[in-house]
Symmetry: C2
Amino acid sequence: MDELDYQPNLLAGSLRKKKTGTIGLIIPDNSNMLYADISKNFEDIFFSKNYNIIVGNSAYIIKREIEHLKNLRSKMVDGILMIPASTEGEHIERIRAAGVPVVLLDRKIMGLEVDYVLPDNYQFGYIAGKYLTGLGHKDIGYIDRFQPHYHSIERKKGFKDALAEGGITFDDDNVLEGGLSYDRGAETAKKLIQKNKKITALFSFNDINALGAIRGLNDIGLKVPGDVSVMGIDDIAISSIFIPSLTTIRYPVKEMVDEASRILLDRIKQPVFKKNKEVVIKPELIIRESTSPITKT
Amino acid sequence: MDELDYQPNLLAGSLRKKKTGTIGLIIPDNSNMLYADISKNFEDIFFSKNYNIIVGNSAYIIKREIEHLKNLRSKMVDGILMIPASTEGEHIERIRAAGVPVVLLDRKIMGLEVDYVLPDNYQFGYIAGKYLTGLGHKDIGYIDRFQPHYHSIERKKGFKDALAEGGITFDDDNVLEGGLSYDRGAETAKKLIQKNKKITALFSFNDINALGAIRGLNDIGLKVPGDVSVMGIDDIAISSIFIPSLTTIRYPVKEMVDEASRILLDRIKQPVFKKNKEVVIKPELIIRESTSPITKT
DNA sequence: ATGAAAGCGCTAACAC
DNA sequence: GTGTTAGCGCTTTCAT
């Protein structure tokens, strides 16, 4: 009857049970180290709970995200975790209305009522501002996201408040929208310094960008941290490896993934939609080599 | 009959058609940038062909790999791509015998007859040897994989041959098994230099390790490439970003993924198992800042 | 052409 | 407790 190597057809069982034991994960881009890390952490947790994961990269393209969502729904996944590609929420609302639990990570979509797990964006800015002013820096360049968004606005607000507490007024002239990439970081850092030679520190929207800034400063003969201190946000793997290693604020990947997994698993067990959850997790300062007390006067 | 937002249940169709439109991907560790890149490339290709991907991280643990394979088979995936976790092949043979097309990437498992897509490991070593001797280096440190394996042995052979062509005999004393990680790279580079002060160049098993080596050399006051040239293998994202940027031999990710996808898709269409394929793809030298002509005499 | 029915391989419900 | 059957939602086949 069974010839030793039998494996049940889970498809049939799933059809019957209306549970597939697979969950969907949609991220913008697996070659972004932060997202790769998030994805790996998810996989670990759900593997231990006997779930499989279908991953999809949206590439920040809303059409791809929509298509992935459709596929996942048709494949009857038990739940979905996603980092949204845009500020559009209608398609997400739809799949949730169809009864599929959805937990969003990283970004909030205004007007969309689902479960969220977010980093404390205000704190990202606040911690950086406090730390840099504590080192004596007064003229601080700020590299903002290319198109300011909900989260970047929060970060800037926190930064501004920290400066104010140190008696320093945030100078809008020291802000440049330098995008998120390494190359744009290099470029933007140079521009900022040329614009204002008094700058002794730079705070960037993310680590990759900050690393680019260090390279850019090096290229015009400025030493980090000797001449200019640089810090970023995320604490991706490169940041500790880079020379100089980067002072940064750790994106709480593990905590966020744990929390999101817990919520999703709960929703799967208990599909009654009570009040949505919104969990916000505090980040943590990681001091390394790229920052130092002010030396110029 | 259909209230606007109907989505078909693909489970039912799959059960009938014996085609799920999902394929399995097993990699050792998605937080390794090379594998993250491979995984992203696969996802892109199969998305465009209307497949979904179930990913699993084996974490180099054979038990996990076996479990993932079981799951994938039970979920009736149409095919499987994997980077094997070990040199064990029995469980892979079994799933293939059950009629699931399997393509292995990166490593060969001796005695296992499946389709393979591999980088040309001999060339990795040969190209490095040629380039370094071409720069005039004669005393070259070699950081080998922790436990030498099929691929690392090939690499060393190529390196040796290149040196021989330059009239240099490969010195086994210049070899240390320094593992694959950044930290081990730093440690091993220091040991090598202390062992043989005449070393002017270092070749490492992979980029992460080579980057660690640069850090290690820096820490004992040696400049790269001024005092010692360093090169690696892979060309991961960090390598072009690092200061100094790393001379390396590009792991042909895109070409390999393209080829593996093509083979897998073929096998899915045409499940008759003819002769297995073994495709070997040539890597490419990427010259950057971490290497320079010899200066010492 | 269009429509009815059988069946994919399981699980849950039901009968014994 | 054990054995049988109905049915999950599709696709495919067969009959009209």
